[in-house]
Amino acid sequence: MNAAAARDCDAAALRRALQALESVVLGKPRQVRLCLTCLLARGHLLIEDVPGVGKTTLAHALAQVLGLAWQRVQFTSDLLPADIIGVSIFDRASQQFKFRQGPIFTQLLLADEVNRASPRTQSALLEAMEERQVSVDVTTYRLPEPFFVVATQNPHEQLGTFPLPESQLDRFLMRVTLGYPDAAHERELLRSGDRRDLIPALEPVLGPEALIRAQQAVRAIHVSESLLNYAQCLIARTRERPDFRLGLSPRAGQGLIRCAQAWAHLAGRSAVLPEDVQSVLPAVVAHRLERRETASHGSPGFTAGTDAADELIRTVPVPI
């Protein structure tokens, strides 16, 4: 199979994956596309919304459709780092300690309600996300490739939660919010019952190898100087504005470009356009922008951040 044919094949597979996801998560094509974009850009994904709008369903479906080995951990306040990473056990037979891998040793980790765990456990997970490896005692274990974390969290539920600090929010490349479905799709949902029943029937359309190839293709999407100008203008504006406590970091800027590349790839283009940047911008930056007004109560309200991202798009002109 030559390279061009493989590329076409992968593109077709990505399209099928999108279709499959949309058949499970009704009426949210944009969010579904964003989730896939995030994984193609080799980033971790945070899905945030009120309970019962399909966060976990979406995460399940992603794992299933991508054909990855996956594990699910329900985060609770008494979850310990060892419950995720693994633990060394004394083996009587060999008379030595043996490391038993935790659920993190998988290709896609579904971390449900990540903000219910204690900060210590959160930080163990987030460290693994950044390094793509875990250290237990003196040994370092590499995590499988590819490795993704899809985490869900519930912003309104304050009691018994530990909000993620900005530094850890920053580890998530994207934050996607789902929102309530529109009337037609809601009726469909009411009629058809639990969507999760559909997930086992989904056919895995990509495997780990195809996904890695797609990720490489994303890296090859052309980013022109004009586009970099535009991205820099956007980033600079977030730092100039007095009502943001923090502007966007260079890491956020890199993530923005990667996501725009992935978005362009999903759209079948070979170069990034300003429209691609605008499409991914709210999901990439909203959780990293903190407004001054909300600074005093923990995590930034996501509505304000999204509004700020929309305003950013409106006010920064596209260079001609």
């Binding site: 309104h156 539920e157 304050q158 009691l159 052309h222 022109s224 100087e225 004009s226 586009l227 007095p242 009502d243 070979s270 170069a271 990034v272 356009l273 300003p274 429209e275 605008q278 007004e293 909300t294 005093s296 109560h297 309200g301 304000a304 509004d307 700020a308 929309d310 305003e311 798009i313 409106r314 006010t315 920064v316 002109p317 596209v318 260079p319 001609i320």
Partner: protein
């Protein structure tokens, strides 16, 4: 369980700021208009606030119209006119407050703030003293803050994308302050170079305020306690050496008419026709006169001519202007401390200056006749009367006992023998006239104190003085100061130094604490600078400034040119700064062609949003004009490819030219009938 999120502290609503600005503007005029106007305007502001914060309801359209008409009628009833500064101000105050009642949209709020700013301008017409400046500045800051709050306020859903920003109070004040600072250079420019028309455009006030200084009548017997006021009457700056202390007589009114108890100005003398001979060296000086609300201008005795064409120089050496002095005034004059007039006294003037009421003060008259008979000449008569005053057991006091109404001079000379300058001058002139010597009372000021910080001589109301003039053959009118005979120190010291207990409490404080006096002197020096350089910056001063800048024989037109040139350069500088801040790069060849394409589309009603990329633009066009898709769509895609595609860094000349040609060829037309979908 779900707990409520803490609600972020809301910034103050814009309407609260608008109400504050209105209230401040109303209060600025509280002293100028009748109290009911201030109270009504504040009441209307309060009504709006109550409707904003509480259950009060705003009036409907009919009620508002009726209220407005009623208020206009009330103002008319109060003043009898709607014309003029005070009625106009009152009307503006009330109408701005009524406007507040129908404030709903952002535009209304701008209008109300505009009204408040106009009231501030009106306030500047009333008072231009330095002490008012901080108040005006604070009011301007408040209005600008209100403007900023309104401008930054979250708007209705129609402008959905503008995120609700809402500034905190400190940010608002900082923003307004910065804006005012940015405006300062322009304000200074306008002040210095905006062509000024000669004459006092601002001199609209004609307030009949209480007269604190010289009165135009003098009734020594009725005053039992004279309180020396620390207020400044005028300031003087001498060119060169000032006259000696005992020669610093500042001439105000001349009083010729006496009814036995009260001296009044009497007739208005004709202009001076004969020449005065100067016997001392001439003194040149500049006077900065505070408002007196009289027509007299003060000058060092004896002034040698009128300082202004509109001021009459009378035969008794007074300066009488056509209008009352209602605002600080500056003029230059030349005086001689000793003069001689050889012209004879006109018969009418002699009649006036020897006039005495019949049957009043008989003992004084008898004494005067006796002394005159004994004296060989008028000069000897003057000497003998002065000797009588010196040796008669008289004393100087600011709290003399009252004198009888019928024969006050008799009472003073033969019973109380205690009084101040007015008593002595009055009695002396009475005696002179009784002896047949023409004489008159002159009031004005004596002395003054040097302010070390600006080198001016400050003459206060407490330096007010009265003296006498007698007509002596061969010498003309000659000044005689009988008070100096009783209290020679008065020539050298102010009343404050002589009689520290007869002055009012604040002046005693100044006297007791020298540092307070020093601070006052500094403040007065600053005030003098302000009046001299800022308030009095008239067309002449402006032309002088231009001459200093190198214009030869400058005219108003030059001021206009200088103004225009500086204004333009300031604007150029500002726009350059603004342009730099935006940092818009100059478009390249492709950008120019694309801009041309966008212009063509804008002309047919399809403008590109600044944030729209080429493909989003193409989609937007396609939604509204599907017929153009075939022409415009490929062009925009071509541009996207050239600008952002993989070859964009080394775009070929050929591709560029093809794109340019395609843009040039594109002919699009506005649709004949606008389709609404």
């Amino acid at each position: 369980m779900i707990t409520a999120r803490p609600v972020p502290r809301q910034p103050l609503p814009p309407l609260l700021w608008v109400c504050g600005a209105s209230a401040a503007a109303v209060l600025l005029h509280a002293t100028e208009v009748p109290p009911w106007i201030t109270i009504s305007a504040l009441g209307l502001v309060g009504w709006r606030l109550a409707a904003l914060l509480g259950p009060a309801r705003l009036p409907g359209g009919v009620a508002r119209a009726a209220l407005s008409l009623a208020l206009v009628a009330a103002v008319f009833a109060q003043f009898g006119t709607l014309d003029g500064l005070v009625p106009g101000t009152a009307l503006l105050m009330l109408m701005a407050a009524v406007k507040l009642l129908e404030t709903r949209s952002r535009r209304d709020q701008y209008v109300v703030i505009g009204g408040a700013l106009f009231l501030l301008l009106a306030g500047c017409l009333y008072g231009q003293a330095l002490a008012w400046v901080p108040l005006y500045g604070a009011d301007a800051l408040l209005c600008c803050s209100a403007l900023a709050v309104v401008a930054y306020a979250p708007v209705t859903d129609t402008e959905a994308f503008a995120a609700p920003i809402g500034l905190a109070t400190r940010e608002v004040l900082a923003l307004a302050g910065r804006t005012l600072l940015y405006a300062m250079p322009l304000a200074i420019l306008l002040f210095l170079f905006f062509p000024r028309l000669p004459g006092h455009f601002w001199a609209l006030t004609s307030g009949e305020n209480a007269v604190t200084g010289l009165g135009s009548t003098l009734t020594p017997g009725s005053i039992t306690s004279l309180t020396a006021s620390y207020e400044i009457a005028f300031r003087v700056r001498f060119d060169g050496r000032p006259p000696p202390r005992d020669k610093r007589y500042w001439r105000g009114f001349v009083m010729q008419h006496f009814d036995g108890a009260t001296w009044t100005v009497g007739w208005l003398p004709p202009g001076l026709t004969q020449r005065l001979e100067c016997l001392s060296r001439p003194y040149r000086y500049r006077i900065y006169l505070e408002p007196t609300f009289r027509r007299w201008w003060l000058a060092l005795d004896t002034v040698m001519g009128s300082p202004s064409a509109s001021v009459r120089y009378t035969s008794d050496y007074q300066l009488i202007a056509a209008h009352r002095v209602t605002r600080p005034l500056t003029y230059s004059a030349v005086s001689c401390t000793r003069v001689r007039s050889l012209a004879p006294l006109a018969p009418a003037a002699r009649r006036e200056d020897t006039q005495l009421p019949p049957g009043r003060n008989p003992r004084t008259r008898a004494l005067a006749l006796r002394l005159r008979r004994r004296a060989g000449s008028d000069v000897a008569f003057v000497q003998s009367v002065l000797a009588f005053l010196r040796t008669g057991g008289f004393s100087y006091s600011l709290t003399p006992p009252p004198l009888g109404p019928r024969n006050p001079v008799d009472d003073f000379l033969f019973h109380t023998r205690t009084g101040f300058c007015g008593h002595y001058a009055s009695a002396f002139v009475d005696m002179m006239r009784a002896g047949g010597v023409p004489a008159r009372v002159v009031t004005g000021y004596l002395g003054g104190k040097w302010n070390p910080y600006d080198g001016t001589l400050i003459v206060r109301q407490s330096d007010a003085h009265a003296w006498a003039e007698v007509w002596l053959h061969g010498r003309g009118w000659t000044r005689v100061d009988p008070t100096a005979v009783i209290e020679p120190e008065r020539l050298y010291h102010g009343i404050l130094d002589l009689l520290p207990h007869s002055v009012s409490a604040p002046e005693r404080l100044v006297h007791a604490w020298p540092w307070l006096g020093t601070a006052l002197e500094r403040w007065e020096a600053l005030n003098g600078w302000w009046n001299d350089r800022v308030v009095d910056f008239n067309s002449r001063a402006q032309l002088n400034l231009l001459a200093d800048l190198g214009f030869r024989s400058p005219q108003l037109r030059d001021a206009g040119w200088a103004f225009a040139v500086t204004l333009l350069s300031w604007l150029a500088w500002v726009s350059w700064q603004l342009g730099k801040a935006v940092g818009e790069p100059v478009p390249d060849r492709l950008g120019r062609a694309y801009a041309q394409l966008c212009r063509k589309l804008t002309r047919i009603g399809l403008p590109r949003g600044g944030h729209q990329g080429p493909l989003a633009y193409a989609q937007a066009i396609m939604r509204r004009r599907p017929d153009l898709a075939a022409h415009v769509g490929p062009l925009l895609e071509h541009y996207a490819e050239l600008r952002f595609g993989s070859g964009s860094e080394r775009a070929h000349d050929r591709d560029l030219r093809a794109f340019e040609r395609a843009v040039a060829r594109l002919a699009v037309r506005r649709r004949e009938r606008p389709l609404r979908t």
